[in-house]
């Protein structure tokens, strides 16, 4: 899985769109900080058509509304825009397991409020299951939210079939192909079907040989293609003796 920051969709410091592939699809996560003028909401509203396949949109929206904050008794004018954006992305507002304020104030005049919201698809198994953890907010005035998102149940295959250079498997692979080619009958190739038959025989030989002799390997960061047994022996020798000559 490779994550990338999609600056080409929306290039604004308050909106991060991060996308990733899971084998087939591209999905994205949207992170928003909407300032007091609600510029982020406006930008999202204008560019919503470019974005698709969002699994979660979250962030500090700076909107107080009775829909999610029981201490407030009015509707914000921006709520409608926000709901429109969520609708376009096929998302709905999720409620946390432990309800509570997400922003704590440091003075006595104001009351704590709910500003950090999570929008998810209701079909997602993580919907309505995010947790507020006010105990670990440390000096920050915002509460961390914990979301577990299930990305489409699919196995991302990061293994691949390989044949190591100069290994016994490779020798056997080549021998199998040679054997297969020797068994082919190429004496009377008169028309297209004859040629096709021969070539199919060859390709099936190769396919069989490949499936029997190739080994499965995981792709890691540390794959060294040029490293072989001789190198390992050499480095061991060097580690033991510490002599530059080795």
């Amino acid at each position: 899985m490779r994550f990338s920051l999609k600056k080409d969709l929306i290039n604004h410091c308050n909106i991060n769109i991060i996308d990733f592939h899971n084998g087939q699809d591209v999905q994205c996560i949207i992170n928003v900080y909407s300032d007091s003028n609600q510029t982020a909401i406006q930008i999202l509203h204008d560019n919503i058509r470019n974005i698709s396949n969002t699994i979660v949109m979250t962030g500090d929206f700076n909107i107080r509304d009775s829909d999610w904050d029981p201490n407030v008794h009015y509707h914000s004018i921006y709520t409608e825009d926000l709901m429109f954006i969520a609708d376009c992305l096929d998302l709905e507002l999720a409620t946390p397991i432990n309800l509570g304020p997400t922003r704590f104030v440091d003075n006595q005049h104001d009351s704590n409020s709910v500003l950090d919201l999570v929008f998810m698809n209701p079909n997602n198994s993580g919907f309505n299951k995010h947790i507020l953890k006010p105990e670990i907010r440390l000096p920050s005035d915002h509460v961390p939210l914990f979301i577990e998102v299930s990305i489409k149940e699919e196995n991302i295959d990061f293994t691949f079939q390989t044949l190591k250079k100069d290994s016994n498997n490779e020798k056997a692979f080549v021998n199998d192909i040679i054997k297969g080619v020797k068994n082919m009958d190429t004496s009377h190739l008169k028309n297209q079907e004859d040629i096709l038959r021969c070539v199919i025989a060859f390709s099936s030989t190769v396919k069989d040989a490949w499936s029997t002799h190739s080994t499965t390997k995981r792709i890691t960061k540390h794959s060294k293609e040029w490293w072989n047994e001789q190198c390992s022996a050499c480095i061991n020798k060097y580690h033991e003796s510490g002599d530059v000559a080795n």
Partner: protein, 652 residues
């Protein structure tokens, strides 16, 4: 630092197609397919093909095993495998096995006689590779699709393309003015050709103006119908034509981006870059275009003096006149003409990549622009430096910028190589020297033939190269910075750069003794002159003796050197005809013995092996041993000798 990291494609930028970013894979595949297959349904006109002469029919004997052995010997073991995972490494033992080889030869022969190319060999995967040094990678044009095919099919393709290379040069189908994609023709040849024209033009007080043009998406937009007609003109027989028509039909393409693979797209135009046919087929495609251009220029009522040079998709129009106005007119009309021909065959010229350049020796010369507005192009303004085929030309042809560019590049490579070791640890001086000579010298000396010849101003260029070699010698030996260049060069075992250039230049001149008679360089030389070929305005022979004496050009040096060579070479002699060579017929009866290395131990083993082999041949009455040797005397003349031994006696 990661040495073997896979090159990942850019992730931040999305590819834009028709103004829309491609945010999902489906849109990406569509964008890629529509831009690499954009020439689909492009109308073409084939009427001008009637004016092209039909070439002699090509003799096509059955394939022999030796051709396959020769073809696979040139293949790199490191090249990527096709969809069936078989690499050249795996195929090599198969070809060495005689029984298997015969079966492969049978299949190849059957493909030609039946005129059929099986779908298994057409199965291909297109890998998208970014073109280097682009500022932005947000269009599909910044990437190059490379086709990976199954190796077995590719081997047969290689053998066929090898034959095409030989025959089309031999029967004169290919035009001398196209220099790309054909064996024995290189960028250096194109450079030398241009250099000679400019210098010879100066002798006759003409300045040289050129327009370089570029064809957009060249390989993916070649039209198959037009190609088939070209192949028929080239003298291929009906079976092979049928084979090529079948080869191009029912093609499908799968694109691969990082680890993602698209569904199959059907393609109806283009030649995959990566197939062994792509160089020769592209050359065949261009031949009628260039021939028609030359013919139309000749048939015009008003005479236009313009020359054309083409290197795959990079073309060059050359005009040599005394006045700038005249050459501008000539260039404009020839540009217009070539534009029309390209549009007829379904190729699109990229006007914004066209460049104009004037070569002159005058003080404060004018530098006029060329207005292409009337034919849909921009106004071309000449730049101070012109880059063509990797050479950096300036107006006075002193190549300071060229040498400076390559020397700087190599100095930065050397700086990076410092991490491989210092005088305490890491690579040994011997290895460093090897690295320098293999990885740096060939790069820094690219195109030196263009500026290193008798009478050329080379002092500044050589000084620049000397500086570079001094740095290298310091790195190899680990000497102090102020050490004298000559001394550390001697210790590092490097030849002084000017002597090295002299040596390489001498060898390069000898190469021209073996080029085919239809080669562009041959049309400029006064000896080896092909009578049928149209004489160029500025050949050596066309100059007066006084002008010849004053002329400074690489061609003059080559001509002087070739005059001393008495041997004649004919690369198209019938004994070199692929499929009819001696080794093709009697490959199992001829065994070559040559030493692996020149070390004493190896030589000893080698000589004992030779003795054994020799005795064996002399025992049987049918065996013959041929022993050959060659040497160069200190006086400079080379000699070679061969003996034929039979029954312990020298028979010849």
């Amino acid at each position: 630092m990661n040495w073997v990291k896979k090159k990942n494609l850019p992730t931040i930028e999305a590819i834009y197609h028709e103004g829309q970013p491609c945010n999902n894979l489906k849109a990406l595949w569509n964008a890629l397919h529509s831009s690499y297959n954009s020439a689909d349904n492009r109308a073409i006109s084939t009427r001008f093909l009637d004016g092209i002469n039909q070439c002699n029919d090509i003799d096509w004997p059955p394939f022999t095993g030796q051709e396959f052995k020769d073809a696979i010997a040139k293949c790199s073991n490191a090249s990527s495998p096709g969809p069936d995972h078989v690499t050249w490494r795996h195929l090599n033992p198969l070809i060495l096995d005689k029984m298997c080889l015969n079966k492969v030869v049978d299949i190849a022969n059957a493909c030609i006689t039946v005129g059929y190319w099986p779908d298994q060999f057409k199965e291909s995967m297109s890998v998208i590779i970014p073109k280097p040094n682009k500022t932005s990678y947000n269009t599909p044009k910044a990437f190059r699709p490379i086709v990976l095919l199954n190796t077995m099919g590719k081997l047969i393709e290689k053998v066929i393309s090898n034959r095409l290379q030989f025959h089309l040069s031999a029967n004169g189908f290919l035009n001398p003015n196209q220099l790309g994609g054909i064996r024995q023709w290189s960028t250096i040849d194109a450079g030398i050709y241009l250099m000679h024209l400019i210098w010879a033009g100066w002798m006759k007080e003409c300045h040289t103006s050129v327009i370089a043009f570029d064809i957009a998406q060249f390989f993916p937009s070649l039209n198959h119908d037009f190609l088939s007609l070209c192949l028929a003109k080239a003298g291929l027989n009906a079976n092979i034509l049928k084979f090529f028509i079948n080869y191009h039909s029912n093609r499908s393409m799968t694109y691969t981006w990082n680890n993602f693979t698209s569904q199959k797209f059907t393609t109806s135009v283009g030649i995959g870059q990566g197939s062994a046919f792509s160089p020769i087929l592209s050359a065949i495609y261009l031949t009628p275009i260039i021939k028609t251009f030359k013919k139309r220029i000749k048939n015009l009522k008003k005479e236009i003096h313009a020359d054309i040079l083409s290197f795959v998709d990079d073309g060059l129009l050359i005009s040599q006149e005394k006045s700038y106005d005249l050459s501008s007119v000539f260039l404009f009309s020839s540009y217009n003409m070539i534009l029309k021909i390209f549009t007829d065959v379904g190729l699109i010229m990229e006007h914004n990549k066209s460049e104009i350049f004037h070569f002159t020796r005058a003080q404060n010369p004018p530098n006029p622009s060329l207005d292409l507005m009337s034919i849909g192009g921009p106004v071309l303004h000449p730049k101070p430096i012109w880059r063509y085929l990797g050479f950096f030309f300036n107006r006075k042809l002193n190549f300071h910028q060229h040498v400076h560019h390559y020397a700087t590049k190599c100095i930065s490579t050397l700086n990076a190589m410092k991490m491989l070791g210092n005088s305490l640890r890491g690579l040994l001086p011997m290895q460093k020297r090897l690295l320098y000579r293999t990885c740096i010298v060939p790069i820094v000396l690219y195109g030196f033939q263009l500026w290193f010849f008798k009478g050329a101003p080379t002092v500044k260029n050589i000084a620049e190269l000397k500086k570079m070699q001094h740095r290298a010698a310091l790195w190899i030996t680990g000497a102090f910075r102020m050490s004298p260049t000559e001394g550390i060069e001697a210790i590092a075992g490097l030849m002084p750069i000017n002597l090295h250039l002299k040596k390489l230049n001498g060898r390069h001149h000898l190469r021209y003794a073996t080029i085919p008679p239809s080669h562009a360089i041959n049309s400029l030389l006064d000896i080896h002159q092909n009578k049928n070929q149209i004489q160029h305005k500025f050949t050596l022979a066309s100059l007066t003796d006084k002008q010849k004496l004053k002329l400074r050009s690489p061609i003059k040096d080559i001509s002087e050197r070739l005059n001393k060579i008495k041997d004649k070479f004919d690369p198209f002699h019938s004994i070199f005809h692929p499929g009819l060579r001696l080794v093709d017929h009697f490959s199992d009866r001829i065994i070559f013995h040559s030493p692996d290395s020149s070390e004493n131990e190896d030589l000893f083993i080698y000589s004992s092996k030779l003795n054994l082999a020799f005795e064996e041949t002399q025992k049987s009455s049918k065996g013959v041993a041929i022993i050959s040797d060659g040497s160069i005397k200190t006086s400079g003349s080379a000699t070679a000798i061969a003996h034929i031994w039979r029954d312990n006696k020298v028979t010849n």
